[in-house]
Subunit: 324 residues, 2 copies
């Protein structure tokens, strides 16, 4: 199986490549990593050919060239994240909408004998308040950010191109990925990761939202499992609705902090400083916090069931398995 | 108030212009009718300036020119209908998606001191089976046609541009408009009109679907009321969800035919010939048939409550008020 990862320089793209490289069972023959901003690093120990490049999917010649290699699976993870798409209207629409469409059009342009699996990362940002207490699989998509609007537009094209047999798409509405490693990106949801990662790394951190804030989480490890499962799932079972609410854990910030206390102790937790920010609290109030994710669970997707698990994944995968 | 109607040569555009022209209370100062295909006819008896032109909204110079006149209200009714958008993939995306986006971008390009009301016709084709028995205002948008996908994409932009204050949008998910006058267009839903209009006009007609088929209807007169109400409604009451399921009448084809029999007699009804068509029946099975339309009703939108009413509107507005 030949795979192409767009957004291969991002956190998920990198971890996805590493996951395939570490997996002796993975039947990958070739992996192409492409990113617009960061030259992706080839994963260590891959038993398959890897090529890495910097390329911009808003250039139709680029998407045509990438697709002309006819990868069997295309992971389309490339996106301008929520905070930046909100600040830069044109950049968000250009990459998140036009880039996605150019990719899909390039696949269509390859003709009838090419029908790759396309795995597209949508987001729970596809939803916007007001919400029921728990969001089922039939709740209306009404985003409250440009990023969310662009993701829903991508979903619509994914469904339509798949229904027409132009490719075989699966869309994943990802929970907030937590704990994100490394420096914060411009995703507004970064605060949920920051309050775990920074204290565990010996640094103080500001908490700009209220501790009662509830949100929907999965670890990076779960996200990679979602992506790999989506690459091989039987899409007959999806019908025309190709996009799924991914499973996750519903937790409050207070519950995050209590899990951190149980794992790392009071001293670490004391590095969190409450400094409520009106703007951030208003943004966060528009976010969903709980899903049934019934369809996805029935299709074999699963995630963590406690915040301790989520923190332990971070400690194992990012801190070498032990507290600093 | 200056108004611009895009799609001014279509059935709704023409009737909307006629409605303003006939209304002594209408406070229109100017009306521009634009259509890509048909030179719109100026409405008779208008007490305001009218200009009519043929122009293609997929040309950015055209949308910029139209918007540069700074109409207070823009009715964006221009679209490739469902049947044609399904047959011609590129034309559908070009006009329904790109044309809509170019219009919205032209408005954005006018700058901060211009914020027109934009009334956008979406459709119940924004929904796709499987459905609950009655669709509420929070049911997921999952179209089963390219036309429906393009309409949802337009809705997403309408919400996003409105949320950002770039214009003041209202989207209307129209029921199937019935009874459509004149020759059938390429909308797949034309069959529901054909079986009323053709027999009333002394012509035989084929019914390609089963009589038990249930669907969601409003008359052209209701549609014009929806559009005019949307042009003046207080959008503060809409919040971020700018698109509304319009009220309508849920009726089966059998109920349509019984209403026709009560109004026009057995001889007229006998001009309907059942010739079930597998393809059409499969398409129709994916269409919604009943909505609560609660939000729209609370905002003052209303439609017919019996199919006799719908037929009588056709007889009054299209047949001069009497049976031929």
């Amino acid at each position: 199986m030949d795979a192409l990862i767009l957004g291969g320089g991002g956190m998920l793209g990198r971890k996805l490549a590493e996951s395939y490289a570490a997996d002796q069972e993975a039947t990958l023959s070739r992996l192409s990593l492409v990113d617009a901003f960061i030259e992706p690093a080839p994963p260590v120990g891959a038993g398959f050919a890897v090529d890495c490049s910097v390329a911009d999917i808003t250039d139709p010649a680029v998407t045509q060239r990438l697709v002309a290699e006819r990868p069997d699976v295309i992971f389309h993870l490339a996106a301008i994240v929520s905070g930046e798409a909100e600040l830069d209207f044109e950049k968000g629409y250009s990459i998140n909408l036009d880039g996605t469409r150019l990719l899909f059009e390039a696949i269509r342009g390859e003709g009838d004998d090419y029908c790759p699996r396309v795995v597209f990362t949508s987001s729970i940002a596809a939803f916007g308040a007001p919400f029921p207490e728990i969001i089922d699989d039939e709740f209306i998509l009404q985003p409250l950010t440009s990023y969310g609007a662009q993701k829903v537009m991508g979903e619509m094209m994914l469904n339509d191109y798949s229904r027409r047999g132009l490719f075989d798409g699966v869309g994943l509405r990802l929970p907030s990925i937590c704990v994100r490693p490394g420096a914060a990106n411009k995703a507004a949801s970064g605060l949920f990761s920051n309050i775990i990662r920074e204290p565990l790394s010996g640094r103080d951190v500001v908490l700009p939202a209220e501790r009662s804030t509830r949100h929907w989480f999965a670890s990076p490890r779960s996200a990679i499992r979602f992506l790999r499962h989506a690459a091989t799932i039987d899409t007959q079972r999806l019908g025309a609705r190709r996009c799924l609410n991914m499973p996750g854990l519903s937790a409050t910030i207070a519950e995050e902090i209590e899990a951190l206390r149980r794992i790392a102790g009071d001293d670490v937790v004391q590095r969190i400083h409450d400094e409520p920010d009106e703007l951030i609290m208003r943004i966060v109030a528009g976010w969903p916090s709980n899903f049934t994710a019934t369809r996805a669970r029935e299709l074999g997707f699963s995630a963590e069931t406690s915040f301790e698990e989520i923190i332990n994944v971070f400690i194992e995968d990012e801190l070498g398995g032990q507290l600093p």
